[in-house]
């Protein structure tokens, strides 16, 4: 129940909000904030301590229940489980999510229209994202991953700016396009892997799956590999842990001759490589990777501040998480085959995002493009397939979550006062808004990777990984460093324009007087984020230690697996 409660808490909050009449606006806000804070407390008090004692690469906490069982005729059955679990990778992203959600919810208190619907949607988004980070069954993951689109679509479309409708639909279509292809792969996977314990039940070896001993499971797996397990005894599964389970360096539960077996081909291509590519494409849209990024600036510019915060800080991370949890776990050889390309697109995103950011006049658009640039490091780190690279990638996701949340809040502060985000319209804000200036300074410096702040560490670790990686060319690392340089250019230029010199506001008349320093609520929002940037810059091990073991195990496993696939490609004989 520990993990299920993380989903149940926002669900209960959601139901409470739905039954309340519209006029209790304050109560609705408090319930939403209360639910997210409670979720955070529960996570910090119950999940994190247990997880920190773990120390092995296994899933530290797991919850599993039978959900659905579909008969597939001559191909046995298809079992779908409600399977949640946490390892180092999901732990870090969950930590980020439960910390950002209360901040975004508190920031939403300034929303004026349709309060009830807004906070209901925020909680709906919360539970689907949190669920997605914990789901270990592909079906459950897919369900939550798709479901996430709906609340986000409405949050942008209803509470957004002038072109909100266009931005919302663009966001929806882009991400749906990616995820329907995930569906295609999911269909193939449903015939390709079995659950040995459930299969033992179908074969009559044990009476229930819980009673299956390791010997029986090993026996079933041997029969399967030797093509001696008849179709009607195969209990197919979507369980990600079973899909990536290895035995003697190969996949333990794969059905020989199935769609995603070693040597299978689809339309003339190697099926597994193709599947990796298709899944990767879906997640790459979410990250987003250049050239699939064009939905992001639109969505960010139109979305209200708190929604931008959630989008940048958490939603984009689902893409990176999916690449590691799904693509690399199930089809690791794709990562090896495409390592150069993935690194290339990572570096392309870093440079292209940074170049576009340099030319933005709108502060929010600048930050949106810098997001694309910084998420490029995640891709570069993953492409290295080195422990340090992947550690750095996940840490970069965490840091980008913190930093981009602060950056979008910072934009929200001046936008609330003047309804103007044009950089050139401001100067000398330092004199009138000293506290604001400090917050912006920390956030800008953190984002550009200044030593002593958090992003510096993660970007360095990513670069270590990519330099160390046997497969990747050093040019990728060298060009990526250029991205950091570009970031310094656009952030420093923006900072000079907006904060140095004498105070002035050149937008519409009268709004300049509204420029006052941070309110206490805004300070409350920005303070923890700025603190986290400094603390994690000085003591990065606080987060790195959480995932270190998991990720090195993960790296070793996918390294072995992908090598064995490369060796075996085309050499297996399908069953007669």
């Amino acid at each position: 129940m520990t993990l299920t409660l993380l989903i149940l808490i926002p669900l209960i909050g959601l139901l409470a909000i739905l039954v309340l009449p519209k006029k209790h606006e304050n109560l609705i806000k408090q319930i939403a904030l209360g639910a997210t804070v409670l979720q955070m407390v529960w996570f910090l008090a119950q999940v994190l301590p247990v997880a920190m004692q773990g120390g092995t690469g296994e899933f530290i906490i797991e919850e599993e229940a039978r959900w659905l069982s579909l008969s597939l005729g001559s191909l046995g059955s298809l079992n779908i489980h409600y399977h949640l679990g946490i390892d180092g990778l999901s732990l870090v992203l969950l930590l980020l999510s439960v910390m950002i959600f209360p901040i975004a919810t508190l920031a939403s208190f300034s929303i004026k229209r349709r309060i009830k619907t807004y906070f209901a949607l925020i909680l709906l988004l919360n539970l689907s994202i949190i669920g997605c980070f914990m789901a270990l069954d592909f079906f459950l993951f897919y369900l939550l991953y798709e479901f996430m689109l709906l609340p986000m679509f409405f949050l942008i479309g209803v509470w957004g700016g002038e072109r909100r409708e266009y931005a919302a639909i663009k966001f929806f279509i882009y991400t749906l396009f990616g995820s329907v292809f995930m569906l295609l792969i999911m269909l193939g996977l449903s015939f390709s892997f079995i659950d040995p314990a459930e299969s033992a039940v179908l074969a009559g070896l044990v009476d229930s799956a819980e009673n299956a001993t390791p010997e029986i499971i090993a026996q079933i797996q041997q029969q399967l590999a030797a093509c001696q397990l008849p179709g009607e005894f195969q209990a197919h599964t979507f369980d990600i842990t079973l899909m990536s389970e290895t035995v003697n360096g190969g996949l333990a539960n794969i059905v020989p001759g199935s769609i995603f077996d070693y040597g299978s081909t689809l339309l003339g291509f190697n099926a597994r490589i193709l599947a990796f590519l298709v899944l990767f494409l879906g997640f790459a849209i979410k990250i987003p990777v250049v050239p699939l990024h064009t939905w992001l600036p639109d969505a960010h510019v139109e979305a209200p501040t708190p929604v931008s915060v959630l989008l940048a800080a958490i939603l984009l991370k689902v893409g990176g998480y999916g690449i590691l949890r799904i693509c690399y776990s199930i089809f690791p050889e794709g990562g090896l085959v495409f390592a150069d390309w993935i690194a290339f697109f990572g570096v392309l995103s870093i440079l292209y995002g940074a170049l576009l950011a340099m030319h933005q006049k709108d502060l929010k658009a600048l930050i949106a493009y810098s997001s694309i640039s910084h998420m490029g490091f995640v891709l570069l780190g993953i492409a290295s397939m080195e422990p340090s690279g992947i550690n750095g990638a996940v840490f970069q996701m965490f840091n980008h979550g913190i930093v981009s949340a602060a950056l979008f809040l910072v934009v929200g502060v001046i936008y609330d006062r003047t309804h103007d985000r044009t950089i050139a319209n401001y100067s000398g804000l330092w004199t009138k808004m000293p506290r604001y200036t400090v917050a912006v300074l920390i956030a800008f410096f953190a984002s550009m990777g200044l030593p002593g702040l958090n992003s510096f560490v993660s970007e360095m670790v990513v670069l270590f990984g990519s330099v160390n990686s046997a497969g990747l060319s050093h040019w990728f690392s060298i060009l990526a460093v250029l991205g950091i340089l570009f970031a310094a250019v656009y952030y420093l230029r923006t900072f000079r324009q907006m904060f140095f010199g004498s105070f002035g506001y050149y937008g519409s008349e009268g709004h300049g007087r509204a420029l006052s320093d941070l309110t206490s609520r805004e300070s409350l929002l920005l303070f923890p984020l700025c603190l986290a940037m400094i603390v994690l810059g000085l003591v990065p091990s606080l987060v790195l230690d959480l995932m270190d073991v998991s990720i090195s195990d993960f790296t070793v496993r996918i390294g072995e697996l992908s090598q064995s696939f490369i060796d075996l490609r085309g050499s297996t004989i399908p069953c007669p």
Binding site: G73, L78, L143, E146, F172, V180, F181, L183, S190
Partner: protein
């Protein structure tokens, strides 16, 4: 069967009399049908509620009879000819029972809403015949789901078609309605003719009208794949008309837009379900396993019909500004998705079609209902006029959004599971046969899902994102609100829980279908 006359007349009569109990639900419907006529000419003019209530009672009673007579075990193997109802003309099995439940649900809803429909009530000559014809059509639908003889199939289909023409034209003073019914009659007559032509050839080839007989399969196999495919193509024309599949779909947009909305909703689900019931039964009799050439021909034909249907339906729906017309085109696309399941020629595929039909019946009926309700309230069928409705009637917009998400086929709704099932069936057949066309169809279907999102989002986008334009905000309450909410429950329920139970149950029904 009757042609193989080995029985004397009195023996035949005895057999027929023995079969009567098999059609108890239809007898109840017929009795209600006759009662309604009597009431209409006696007390119907004074008390306007009597006729429809009799019809409602008739449908509900026949539903009870269907459930009491539930027989999922009726297989050809176990039954001798004497034991088959009406000498093998029909088969009263669980498969038919499943469809009868769908007909009853949509029939009851149609009667209920027709009673409330303002436009229909203002019709000068009264509503009595209208309800009577709906009941007559339901009887035909029942026989369509049970027919196992080529002649019976054709007759049952005509028994559904004729009332359909009448119902479409019922609002005869409405120009749209009149135009729609003429189109309907012309296409209907044309496709019936083609089908009858095909059936006559089929009789010529096989020498029997009973597709379950051994001679039927043997003679088909002996005739060679090409002529048989050609003949089957003609027969499929009739089915395509009923399920509004390409290329016999042209009537659908006009009829769905022109008829009153309860009728449009009824047409979009009940005859389509019946058409699929008959199609699945008919294809099941064909010797596809012993005749691979025929099977691959049929897969190509059905696959192409599905592909063109999905694509054309979706692309045309994109351009629509009228809610009901959009639903009409989208229902053509849905027929395409379902034909994919039929084209699998597998247990999984057919079960997926049945599941899809169950979800489709509920969500399409609800969507038509929502569209009709909006039309009544705002006096317009165009999306333009629904701007900003979400602020006035949030519950309605939420329910409608759920339905649209389900029609698109996104989780967590029954529509998603329906599509998933069909895709799974395609995947299974691909794995079994390695037939590349199936994979291409799968990819095309998935891409079509993305296309359909564009137009299914239109109503919620207009209602939620745009600023309000109407002055009078309708109130969403009473019967319409309750029924729309109730219809949304199974759509969500089957998306998350227990859909495996239903699918496995349907597989069980289909297992006993064939010889």
């Amino acid at each position: 069967m009757l042609s193989e006359a080995t029985y004397t007349l009195s023996e035949k009569l005895a057999l027929l009399a023995g079969s009567i109990s098999h059609i108890l639900p239809e007898l109840i419907l017929s009795a209600a049908f006759l009662l309604m006529i009597v009431f209409e000419i006696s007390i119907g003019k004074k008390n306007k509620k009597v006729v429809p209530l009799t019809g409602l009672a008739g449908i509900l009673l026949s539903l009870a009879a269907v459930i009491l007579l539930w027989d999922s075990e009726a297989t050809v193997k176990t039954l001798k000819i004497e034991e088959e109802p009406f000498l093998g003309m029909i088969r009263n099995d669980g498969f038919a029972g499943f469809f009868k439940i769908l007909f009853a649900v949509s029939g009851v809803l149609t009667l209920l809403f027709s009673m409330q429909n303002k436009k229909l009530r203002s019709e000068s000559r009264g509503m009595g015949e209208y309800f009577i014809v709906i009941l007559g059509m339901t009887i035909g639908l029942h026989f369509m789901s049970m027919a196992t003889n080529l002649l019976m199939m054709f007759l049952a289909m005509e028994m559904v078609s004729l009332p359909s023409y009448i119902l479409t034209a019922y609002a005869r003073l409405n120009q749209k309605s009149a135009e729609a019914s003429i189109k309907y009659v012309i296409y209907g007559a044309f496709s019936s003719g083609i089908m009858l032509f095909g059936l006559s050839y089929l009789y010529g080839i096989t020498g029997t009208l009973d597709p379950s007989s051994a001679a039927f399969a043997q003679n088909l196999n002996a005739a060679g794949a090409f002529p048989v495919t050609f003949v089957l193509l003609l027969v499929l024309g009739g089915f395509a008309f009923k399920i509004s599949a390409v290329p016999f779909h042209f009537w659908a947009p006009d009829v769905y837009q022109g008829a009153s909305w309860p009728v449009a909703a009824f047409f979009s689900v009940a005859p389509k379900a019946a058409g699929f019931a008959m199609l699945i039964r008919f294809l099941d009799f064909l010797p596809v396993e012993s005749n691979p050439a025929l099977k691959s021909n049929l897969i190509i034909v059905l696959g192409l019909m599905a592909l063109v249907g999905m694509t054309l339906g979706n692309l045309s729906a994109l351009r629509q500004e009228n809610f009901r017309r959009m639903l009409a085109w989208s229902s053509i696309a849905h027929s395409g998705y379902m034909l994919l399941g039929v084209a699998c020629f597998s247990l999984l595929g057919n079960a997926a079609v049945l599941f899809y039909l169950a979800v489709y019946t509920v969500m399409t009926y609800a969507a038509f209902m929502a569209a009709g309700w909006l039309e009544e309230q705002t006096g317009s069928g165009r999306f333009e006029d629904y701007r900003g409705l979400a602020q006035g009637i949030p519950l309605f917009v939420i329910l409608l959004s759920i339905l649209m998400v389900s029609l698109t086929g996104l989780p967590p709704t029954g529509g998603f599971i329906g599509k998933l099932d069909i895709f799974l069936a395609l995947g299974e057949q691909y794995q079994e046969t390695g037939y590349g066309l199936l994979l291409l169809l799968l990819v095309a279907a998935i891409l079509n899902t993305v296309v359909s999102l564009f137009y299914y989002l239109k109503p919620p986008v207009y209602m939620i994102f745009k600023n309000p334009s109407i002055k009078v905000i309708p109130r969403f309450h009473g019967l319409a609100a309750w029924i729309l909410a109730i219809l949304t429950i199974p759509v969500l329920w089957l998306g998350i829980l227990h859909f495996d139970v239903l699918v496995n149950f349907l597989q069980g029904l289909l297992l006993n279908l064939s010889s």
